[in-house]
């Protein structure tokens, strides 16, 4: 089968293409992506705390492992999205308008790490609140009124 498809590919390469390029200057930014990831962190933190580690069953161990993995991934994703927004979207004029911008992003990035390392609902909720602040500033710089909402 591989020989057949490779031969077809070699003789008649596909004309249709789809870009999987790296981060391009598309100018499309939205704090919603960080918010979705942070919500997943909060959800996983609640699920982890709802499990009984004294149960000692394989099912509990499996669920715990999955929840922790997702929490780790989503916290890192939230951090990455926030850092891209901070470094690529926001410019010096925004900082003049919002002098505490750097501090808010710094706190948000630290909270992503804390929510990843710990099992803390307080830290996860604090992260959501900080992303809400970023949401407000972001859309204000675009002179648009976009209500903040959560999926859960």
């Amino acid at each position: 089968m591989k020989l057949l498809t490779r031969t077809i590919q070699k003789l008649f390469p596909a004309r249709m293409t789809a870009s999987a390029h790296c981060d391009g200057p598309c100018g499309v930014y939205d704090p919603a992506s960080a918010r979705i990831a942070a919500e997943a962190v909060l959800s996983m933190t609640k699920k982890i705390l709802a499990l009984d580690p004294g149960d000692r069953s394989h099912a509990t161990a499996n669920s715990l492992s999955r929840f922790i993995t997702i929490k780790e991934e989503q916290a890192q994703l939230a951090k990455t999205d926030l850092l891209i927004l901070w470094t690529d979207y926001f410019k010096p004029p925004h900082l003049e308008q919002y002098p505490d911008l750097h501090d808010i992003f710094w706190q948000a990035a630290k909270l992503c790490s804390a929510a990843k390392v710990e099992v803390s609902i307080e830290k996860a909720e604090e992260l959501m609140e900080t992303i809400n602040k970023i949401h407000t500033i972001f859309w204000a710089t675009k002179k648009r009124e976009v209500p903040y909402y959560t999926a859960s």
């Binding site: 390469p13 293409t17 789809a18 870009s19 999987a20 790296c22 919603a32 850092l83 999926a151």
Partner: protein, 114 residues
């Protein structure tokens, strides 16, 4: 991702799959540049895309650009969050697109890069 089997090849020959060449590395390690995939352009006629699906979509701001990404989430306003698989954030980016911009679902890898 599954390699194209006889069923997929048959669907391609009967024009129910389209071949598409990947350009770029944001879908590594799953897909590399010059890999070819098969796409089902009818996949979302009767059902919505699912989180985890790899899709071909029109870029929301760059006219004429088609992108291949994985669906990571859905916003309340109906926009889908697409992102590549590449774990390196410098090699990857996410984008929000409306359902109308999603062209089809990637169903198999037709051929790996030469």
């Amino acid at each position: 991702m599954q390699e194209s089997n006889w069923k997929e090849i048959f669907l391609w020959l009967t024009r129910r799959r389209r071949r598409c060449r990947v350009l770029g590395i944001s879908m590594l390690p799953l897909l590399s540049t010059d890999d070819e995939v098969l796409i089902d352009l009818q996949a979302y006629r009767h059902q919505h895309p699912l989180i985890g699906d790899i899709v071909i979509a029109r870029h929301p701001t760059q006219t004429g650009l088609q992108i291949i990404k994985r669906i990571m989430g859905v916003n309340e306003d109906g926009r889908y969050q697409l992102r590549g698989d590449n774990p390196d954030p410098i090699r990857n980016s996410s984008v929000l697109v409306h359902f109308s911009l999603i062209l089809g679902r990637v169903t198999s890898r037709f051929a790996a890069a030469k």
